[in-house]
Symmetry: C2
């Protein structure tokens, strides 16, 4: 049976491809999925019938928008969504029963449960009139009720339905600053905190501030999280790459930074900021403190703003590594607020909480002059404020229950269960990938991803090229069609030219991981058999 269905899926691809090469031949399956698939494999433009009636053609749009790409939710995901609809409409039509979205760090979508205490507090803040009802005592923990009262006291008029200060509710920023202080052992100022709808708007805000034209460059790791390339493209700047060294576990070498900075400057690019993602996305490495010191020193010397993406600060899976914030590192080197402009991004979407749908986060902005700060405030104020539930949640993740609180034990058990399980899943997937022919995969020391390198046979590369696809995009599409597993091609993140990778989250439920490894293994074996040189 499985073989039969696999054959059908393969013929679907073949037919779609052939029908495009021979447009007069009818595809045997003219479904939406099929035409989508066909477009994926050939990059045919979609329906243009409306263009002639419409004042707005795609060529007349902002070219920066046209240039922007975002692979994590790109073509492969559209393809997966169509496959999912197809599966629903025609059960059994594919050699798998469900689509496994390993393309995005979206834990709850794969079954991870929220932290109970956090949700209790959110619910109570949403509907405070139940706070003093007797039934509430039976439904909610005592410390969640207490915390909700505290939070409502911090919000002017207890109005969770009101716009807050453009940087976020002051009392919640106090809590977050205290959390940062407790984490780092150095002072944090609530006036430095800008609460944002997830980390992304903060990144956009900084790019908007820093980029004047295409001769302004932003240093980004390669591979990078494509939010950065997308945001730089949208704001019309230039991404200046620095390559992480795969051979040394995605090491960040200062010599590479120096070399690339020199090259960029020779091209007339004014490099304005350095993005560091720690723990790494998509690469999963956790930087050593010594390495972070070198980076701080480099930014200081070269006059770069340090943009520290620290959204995976709670996601560290190996005992030999620890997360250190860049601010802590800079302060421990003796650099004060006036010495180095530094922005740290944090999000409620990652960590053990994984509350992506709440869109909470903040940036801690230090080392900027008051005039520059005023400009950041102005841009924040144009959008009024971030959502209050997200603000509350950001304060909660920076100030979770403490030993002795009623919820502490259940909170700790939930947190620890999630993080331990993620560590085990990362290890099993890593081991499984390393067993595949031509595949090597660095350890996920942190974050939520593996980024294996796949050495593809020349024949597969040629096949992809003939379909005008990047070889890793072709591999990812074939993997999806054969297994229902959605991964993101390495070309969406950037990689050393001539190497191919994909990013796969470690988030599917633990009991599904062995099956994923076998499906991957089986697919990979067949793929290699098909194309082996």
């Amino acid at each position: 049976m499985r073989r039969l269905v696999a054959h059908k899926a393969k013929s679907l691809i073949t037919n779609a491809t052939v029908s495009l090469l021979n447009p007069h031949r009818q595809s045997s399956s003219p479904s939406n999925y099929c035409s989508r698939l066909a477009r994926f494999f050939t990059s045919l433009p979609s329906d243009t019938s409306m263009a002639s009636h419409n004042p707005l053609s795609v060529d007349s749009l902002n070219p920066k928008v046209l240039k922007c790409e975002y692979a994590v939710r790109g073509e492969i995901v559209s393809l997966a969504q169509n496959l999912q609809q197809d599966l629903k409409a025609n059960p059994g039509s594919h050699p798998f029963e469900e689509i496994l979205y390993c393309n995005i760090g979206n834990p709850h979508s794969l079954g991870q449960q929220p932290i109970t205490f956090f949700r209790e507090v959110l619910a109570l803040c949403d509907h405070p009139t139940i706070l003093d009802k007797s039934e509430t005592q039976g439904l909610f923990s005592a410390d969640s009720i207490e915390r909700a009262w505290q939070i409502l006291d911090q919000i002017p008029g207890s109005a969770t339905g009101a716009y807050s200060h453009s940087q976020g509710v002051k009392g919640l920023r106090d809590t977050i600053a205290a959390g940062i202080e407790a984490r780092d052992g150095f002072p944090a100022d609530p006036n430095d905190i800008f609460l944002t709808d997830g980390a992304s708007p903060g990144v956009h805000m900084m790019m908007q501030l820093l980029i004047r034209s295409e001769t302004d460059g932003i240093f980004c790791p390669i591979p990078q999280y494509p939010l950065y390339s997308a945001s730089i493209a949208l704001h019309g700047g230039t991404l200046v790459p620095y390559y992480l060294d795969e051979a040394t576990g995605w090491g960040l070498e200062i010599s590479e930074l120096k070399k690339q900075l020199e090259t960029a400057r020779q091209k007339g690019i004014a490099v304005r900021a350095l993005v560091v993602i720690n723990p790494g996305n998509p690469t999963g490495q956790v930087l050593a403190e010594e390495n972070q010191r070198e980076i701080v020193e480099f930014c200081k010397k070269e006059g770069l703003v340090l943009l520290a993406d620290e959204v995976y600060q709670e996601n560290v899976y190996v005992p030999e590594k620890q997360f250190h914030s860049f601010k802590k590192v800079a302060r421990s080197m003796g650099y004060g607020d006036k010495d180095i402009p530094l922005v740290s991004f944090q999000s409620v979407s990652k960590g053990y909480y994984g509350e992506c749908g709440k869109r909470g986060g903040y940036m801690e902005v230090t080392g900027f002059s008051p005039e520059v700060r005023e400009q950041i405030y102005k841009v924040a104020s144009v959008n009024l404020c971030s959502n209050i539930s997200g603000q509350i949640l950001a304060s909660l993740v920076m100030s979770p229950p403490k030993v002795g609180d009623e919820s502490y034990e259940s909170y700790f058990a939930e947190k620890d269960g999630i993080l331990q399980s993620l560590a085990r899943r990362a290890k099993i997937l890593e081991d499984g990938l390393n067993k595949l022919e031509g595949v090597t995969c660095n350890k996920a020391e942190g974050a939520m991803y593996l980024f294996p390198r796949i050495r593809l046979p020349n024949k597969a590369i040629k096949e992809a090229e003939s379909l005008k696809k990047a070889p890793d995009a072709y591999y990812a599409a074939r993997l999806l069609n054969a297994t229902g597993i959605v991964v993101v091609p390495g070309s969406g993140f950037g990689q050393v030219p001539g190497t191919w990778h994909f990013r796969c989250t470690i988030l599917p439920q633990e009991e599904k991981i062995p099956a994923i490894v076998s499906r991957l293994t089986e697919f990979h074996q067949k793929f290699m058999d098909e194309f082996r040189d």
Copy 2:
């Protein structure tokens, strides 16, 4: 006593101003408030001590950011916040006891209560594990429990903590589309809905899409809501003004549109879109259907995208006017989806719900080609999705309880109470303003604001000019200092040159309105007495 304190406040202004004119003279009150006030009245640059150590000077920022202004949360609000701190630190130090924020449409901040049903559903969706507990029946209405189940069913895996589809949860978009259909009597497609964190991100997205350079123009009403001028500045385009006619109740004349379009084209500006705010912000007028038809026709003929800001669709206070969506008007004229590109913005922040802090909203995007739609989708996907609570709330406001539902009566009473009271408040304020010397104020037919014209004596204008302030900004600052009432100077919205206005919300609690009118009256009388020519 009141006179004494008023005198003190006035001397505070005078001292601050004098101390800046004579920098060697010590101000008698060197508080933060005072220095802020001094800066407001003189536009002195703030502390620049950091600039020399820092790679990032304000001159090196994106000039588009520097150019952007957002009056609603501008200098007058900073001034008010400092006053508020001062009041807290030194009670009795000013001739009023509280700051009344009439600068922004933020109903809950002034005591408006949320709609109970909406909050019940939000709380249950935040913490669904209580849904089947017996205590929950005692705390929540039966239909809120039922609705929460329905919504959770619409969300894949019931995961309110997961990123949704980049346009928003499909099931919630289905609900919203059904609500639009019920409102308009014309079909709405859930695939046309893009859920957003309030309406602002949708506006930014469209500006980002449409503006290529400063020779791209966006038609905006003057006066306008400064989100538009800010967004156009941030994206580097040109605001092409069309003036609303104050004499005819802020009428929108097609002849004015034609004239301004001609002028813009002669300057080499490619006008790409027309923004209409209906009901008007800050002007409060509700467009007549016939006028809307003319606007649709004009956009159609001139090849303009129609950007319809319809966030005040529930806020209509006069029996002779009714809200009609531009999509309904276009469809009723026989224009189908392919005939006219039209974007309608809606928000959970306004209406009778006023849930600003939830940051929910949507745009309905019709009449765009699939390729252009794909670009909008791509930009939306870079930000992953809007917050799920805001998405849920957007579905609720477009599908509130119906006759026969358990919550219907209380829901209707809450809604009707708020809207009736807003109508009464608008009328009392309008009448009060019209009694002031040299002030005329059009009716607030809808929205949440009054925008009176103030005819200032020449002496007052000269005094403002000598302080390098717009006369209406000077008036607003003096009003704030005398009464604690925060209004936004008309210059932040645009106005016919040589005329002066301010925007004042109708949102303070109804019982406070008479006192506001007396304080305004008393202040205005004294101001006129001080400066009368």
